[in-house]
Amino acid sequence: MSAHASEHHPAEETHPAENYAEQHEGRHPSFKQYVYIALILFIITAVEFLLIAPWWDITISWQGSKGVVAPLFALSALKFAIVIMFYMHLKFDSRTFTVVFISGLVLALLVGMAVLGLFGSFQPTPRTFAACNAVPYVHHEPGEPAGEPLEVERGPECDVPGPAAAPAPAAAEPAAGGETATALEGAAADGQALFVGKGGCAACHTIEGVPGAVGLVGPNQSTVGAEAGARIPGYSAEEYLRESILDPDAYVVEGYAPGLMAPLVNAANLTDDEIDALVEFLLAQQ
């Protein structure tokens, strides 16, 4: 590449017309080289276009297009570099121009990253956060009072603390917004952590107000503490809950499939204390 920068470019010396230009511009590429550069830019753009082409008609298309994000970044950076180096002849001009321009460019990148960081765009679920905290816009004429903000319907996703927060749901509650479970103490609080964390219960069972507990495979357990005593005649609520964890198929709530939970409970490998805590927690779900 550095050969292009040299004052005496052999290809240019053979063309009188370009020799004239060389006297004034000195180190600019020839017409032919400009054509090559234009062709390269065209080809890169065409490649970019073809990279994303397969995802046009797929419904959740942007998920499919994720894989080409890195190549697209690289290709457009390459185009950017080619244009400033050759079309804007930074490659052949004084280094000072390059320094001036690159400084601004780098500063712009840093400012951009800072803005993205400040506004939480690096969080895993920016839109969920927006959706759960947004106040609907109500149009009103200038001078007219704005009125009360509309009530938003907040779905269960508002209680999801995000995948990284699953092992420590208690810490993630304030950030998740929405309602949180009433403060639990002692064993019951441990039980909640087990329900969402080690026990894995939350993957299949919903408990309203417990972040992360939004599963739909098993029965909703939002009020299981109140219902448990009436499931099997002669069993107390506590006895029923304990048996349901240790031997899930002994009694299966109508409408739900047997056999699914037992292997999962075995895999969770809960200690006796942990099962006590879970029962305690479930009893509190009135």
Binding site: A21, S61, S65, V69, F73, T96, V100, L107, V111, T128
Partner: protein, 227 residues
């Protein structure tokens, strides 16, 4: 002085000393372009901050037309090629070439603006206005300012065509064309970035339902960054 002047770009035009040894006008142009990086950088960052956070449609995947915009991107790339030819013609003192290539550049800029007018109208017809949602606000602000830059460039180029018709452009005044060229190419590279981020990548962004299902909207971009 002749020695020093011989090393200066365009020393036959500007017989003034500068502390940098560089032409003031050209240095000022680069400083301006450098600051314009921050201008567009901020607008692009704002778009990315609000990317995928619109709660009402239309969403990008419903209205962004990538094939059409790819064509207008090609046109803008072609115009950059015409621009370097205009400068080359100026250096050769090819009067006809100067006018033709400058006109060609301005014409292709006009085609690009035509595509943008068409696009904005199509979006409006689909229900996306600047106050419809966050996508509309950030999209129109960013691409609108870019379009304004292109429009200014067209006015500049046409003004140069008038100067050229009077025979005032040539090797001695090549800097006049070169500065317009720097501005024009800068507008082109800004579009390279916008085209990639808003169209090729952001053009597939869907509504909230899809985002909830998949979570991390920003992950693909993040994983591509060298951090």
């Amino acid at each position: 002085m002749a020695q020093v002047g011989g090393q200066l770009p365009y020393s036959d035009v500007d017989h003034h000393y500068t502390t940098t040894g560089l032409n003031h006008r050209k240095l000022l142009m680069w400083v301006f372009l450098s600051s314009d990086c921050l201008f567009f950088g901020s607008l692009i960052a704002t778009y990315m901050v609000y990317r995928g956070q619109s709660l009402v449609g239309p969403y990008p995947n419903q209205i962004i037309d990538i094939p059409i915009t790819t064509i207008s991107t090609f046109v803008l790339l072609c115009s950059s090629f015409a621009m370097v030819q205009a400068l080359a013609a100026t250096n050769r003192d090819d009067q006809r070439g100067i006018q033709l290539w400058l006109l060609a550049t301005a014409f292709m800029g006009l085609i690009f603006i035509g595509f943008q007018v068409y696009e904005f109208n199509a979006f409006r017809a689909e229900g996306l206005k600047i106050d419809t949602n966050l996508f509309g606000t950030t999209f129109f602000t960013l691409t609108g300012f870019h379009g304004a830059h292109v429009t200014l460039g067209i006015v500049w180029l046409l003004a140069l065509v008038i100067v050229a018709r009077k025979g005032r452009l040539g090797p001695a005044t090549a800097l006049d064309v070169e500065l317009a060229g720097l501005y024009w190419h800068f507008v082109d590279i800004v579009w390279i970035v916008i085209f990639t981020l808003l169209y090729l990548i952001g053009g597939f962004d869907a509504g909230p339902e899809a985002a909830h299902a998949s979570g991390a909207l920003f992950q693909p971009v993040l994983s591509a960054l060298p951090i």
